[in-house]
């Protein structure tokens, strides 16, 4: 047993962190929220060049994977930088297309996903909205044991996080039907939960780091507010939440990589813990930044607004908790 990332995995994370740090990501987030997808797609292309999407696609379709653990490492960094777009959905769609057993659809889409040419939406059974349907090349919609593909959608709805653009998928043609669709959708949901958890974890880490910086500099009553015990204890609790969510995320990735029977429960546990920890980090960040935290102009707002939707995407905490106890 060696429950630690390898040096190679750490280097990969550092590379992505540096790439995203140097890419003007906050400006891309704001453009994305305004409906201008160009800077976001440029960012997407650079991530593809670094190999991110290839990790979700099997080798026979031009990818490197599927490698859930390496994808997880990547998605922690995507969350740390609040990268916009249907990232989780595209990776989950790749897993879905690979497992669904429709060779034609797999051949048509998987190489494009691996190369970063295709943004793909995925709506699991019961989900009313597709994320970023106005930016995706196609949307896969699962209803019962049937999957449809569509390129049209209703109006984009105003949302809590304007950089997560929600719209109803419309129409579509049936791609496949049957138990293979149901099984592929279940697996895709587990992977989506894992990667959303990873994003939430990275987002929480960024919020904590930014807040620690802030409270070390901001003075009130003649002292840095970070010296006050009430402030310290809140940040300590935030760190504890993130630190103990992280191993759940890695363990779920290992379970998915091994196709273990426990993978669904482990992904749900990771999602519940990391989603809550990320949201708690956002609440802490807002509170300790004071009125600054309640304003739109600092980039902090891009992270704060994302925390709640990530907590609830691909299964609310209650749904995930129920899943943990389901077996």
């Amino acid at each position: 047993m060696r429950f630690l990332l390898t040096d190679e995995q750490r280097d990969f994370a550092r590379t992505l962190d540096a790439l995203l740090g140097a890419s003007g990501t906050p400006a891309a987030v704001r453009s994305w929220a305004a409906g201008d997808h160009k800077p976001g797609r440029d960012l997407w292309a650079r991530l593809a060049e670094a190999g991110v999407f290839a990790l979700a696609v099997p080798e026979e379709h031009g990818g490197l994977g599927p490698l859930p653990l390496e994808l997880t490492v990547a998605f922690i960094e995507l969350g740390r930088h609040a990268v916009p777009g249907p990232l989780v959905e595209t990776a989950a769609a790749a897993a879905f297309l690979h497992r669904m057993g429709d060779a034609e659809a797999a051949t048509a889409w998987l190489p494009r996903i691996a190369a970063g040419d295709a943004l793909v939406g995925l709506c699991p059974d019961g989900a009313p909205f597709a994320l970023d349907a106005d930016a995706t090349d196609t949307v896969l919609v699962v209803r019962d044991d049937t999957v449809c593909r569509t390129g049209t959608h209703g109006p984009v709805q105003p949302a809590l996080d304007p950089a997560r653009r929600l719209a109803r998928p419309l129409g579509g043609t049936v791609l496949a039907r049957g138990p293979a669709v149901t099984a592929a959708a279940r697996h895709a949901t587990d992977l989506a939960r894992l990667l959303t958890a990873a994003q939430a974890l990275g987002l929480g880490r960024a919020l904590l780091a930014g807040t620690v910086d802030h409270v070390g500099q901001r003075t009130q009553f003649g002292r840095a507010i970070g010296s006050f015990q009430a402030v310290k204890h809140r940040l300590a609790d935030t760190l504890i939440g993130l630190e103990f969510a992280q191993p759940l995320v890695y363990a779920a990735a290992l379970a998915l990589a091994a196709d273990a029977p426990s993978a669904g429960a482990e992904a749900a546990a990771a999602k519940a813990a990391a989603g809550e920890a990320g949201y708690a980090a956002a609440r802490t960040a807002l509170q300790l930044h004071g009125a600054v935290g309640y304003t739109d102009e600092p980039d902090l707002s891009l992270w704060i607004r994302k925390a709640r939707p990530l907590r609830d995407a691909w299964g609310t905490p209650a749904e995930c908790r129920a899943r943990v106890l389901a077996e």
Binding site: M1, R2, F3, L4, L5, T6, Q9, L69, L208, V212, V215, G216, R223, A224, G226, S227, F228, Q229, V231, K232, H233, L235, A236, D237, L239, I240, E243, F244, A245, Q246, P247, L248, Y250, A251, L254, A269, A272, A273, P317, A318, R321, A322, V324, L325
Partner: protein, 390 residues
């Protein structure tokens, strides 16, 4: 990164499981915080030691198995899963022994560790004083130099196990006027039946005499019972304190087993429509798994030569709150039966939740309060400025 057990570790788990299945008493022993229970638990320590299961991570020469940290974790998982008795020897085994391995003389190790491993000598911890709980630097009990040793004077209190234990270890002020309060302390071992020692049991929150206060009136301790250098007690003690908060006191196996029992209780008793309670059960299960995995990651780091410093404070806060959450949820599931003590005639047959709940309440208090731990996390792990003091 992997979570796969090596062949040797898997074999170790099988051996431990088989031994425990054959030896764990069918009926729970009486509470170890009573005289009869203390004696029964001492016998259990001897039974463990007879087959070298009492101190698996120690070197073979002291009764151990040279087990790795992972194997120790595996043993603990099996131990709690088997419902084996509480460890009356744990203060010595988990707190004093690591200190002796690090700072003790060969003579001390040879003399102390064997009888500790068999339960022949049970140790009590004598850290706290009426004016010194988490702030150990404010200790007042003194060690005064005398021919061939030291005279201990003063009072220790809330001393776990001291009502029935044989010996104790603690810190004493050996130089009264040092510039800083954590200087001039000496770490000593002493017998609880020595002339000059008065032991007064103190009832715990559950009324059991789990604590004692110790009055020390010129108690002679020979130089051979000083651990480390005189005056360096703080440094010596800090290695012990780290052990207490970190891995050794609260291995994940304990919480994993409790989470299993809680899940079983929930399936047996709960109204499926009560989703609030279901969420709490799930959170306890998730928390126990998180703690187990976090510990595996720490063990992996330690196996590669890193050491745990302030990180042990993360563990302390997490396990102590998890323990309370587990037990509170169980009491809620039990409804009106949750108000009964474990030895009540009508207590649930799977018992143990009442005692467990009471014990869990101490978690955030002892081994350095959680307020102290959060300060350590904030200052040493997050790099926040020190609080203005004094």
């Amino acid at each position: 990164m992997d979570l796969d057990a090596s062949a040797a570790d898997a074999a170790f788990r099988d051996e431990a499981r088989a031994w425990l299945a054959a030896h764990v008493p069918a009926r729970p022993l009486p509470s170890l915080e009573t005289r009869a229970g203390f004696a029964a638990h001492r016998d259990w320590e001897a039974e463990l030691a007879a087959d070298r299961w009492s101190v698996v991570s120690w070197p073979a020469e002291y009764g151990g198995r040279d087990a790795s940290l992972f194997q120790w974790l595996i043993f603990e998982e099996e131990y709690y899963a088997a419902g084996a008795p509480g460890r009356v020897g744990q203060n010595g085994i988990n707190l004093l022994a690591p200190t002796l391995f690090e700072h003790g003389t060969p003579e001390q190790c040879a003399r102390v560790l064997g009888p500790m491993a068999t339960g022949e000598v049970v140790w009590a911890q004598a850290w706290s004083e009426p004016e010194a709980g988490s702030d150990l630097a404010s200790l007042r009990a003194t060690a005064v130099r005398t021919a061939g040793g030291w005279h201990l004077r003063g009072q220790k209190t809330w001393s776990s196990r001291a009502a029935f234990a044989d010996r104790a270890f603690g810190l004493f002020r050996s130089q009264p006027d040092t510039p800083r309060p954590h200087q001039g302390l000496t770490y000593l071992m002493f017998p609880l039946d020595a002339p000059g020692v008065t032991v007064r049991p103190i009832g715990r929150l559950d009324g059991k005499p789990a604590f004692a206060e110790l009055f020390l009136d010129d108690v002679f301790v020979p130089d051979t019972d000083v651990i480390g250098e005189p005056g360096q007690g703080w440094r010596v003690a800090m290695s012990t304190a780290g052990n207490e908060r970190g891995l050794t006191l609260r291995s994940p196996g304990r919480f994993s087993a409790a989470a299993e029992r809680l899940t079983a209780l929930w399936r047996e008793t709960a109204d499926p429509a009560d989703t609030a309670l279901r969420d709490r059960v799930a959170d306890a299960v998730i928390g126990a798994r998180a703690y187990q995995l976090f510990t595996y990651a720490n063990a992996s780091r330690l196996a590669e030569g890193s050491s745990l410093g302030a990180e042990s404070s993360l563990n302390k806060v997490f396990w102590s709150e998890l323990d309370i959450a587990l037990h509170e949820t169980a009491l809620d599931l039990l409804g009106p039966y949750g108000a009964l003590a474990d030895d009540a005639d009508e207590a649930p047959a799977h018992g143990g939740w009442a005692d467990g709940w009471t014990f869990s309440l101490a978690g955030p208090v002892y081994a350095g309060t959680n307020e102290i731990q959060r300060n350590i996390i904030a200052e040493r792990l997050l790099g926040l400025p020190k609080e203005a003091r004094g």
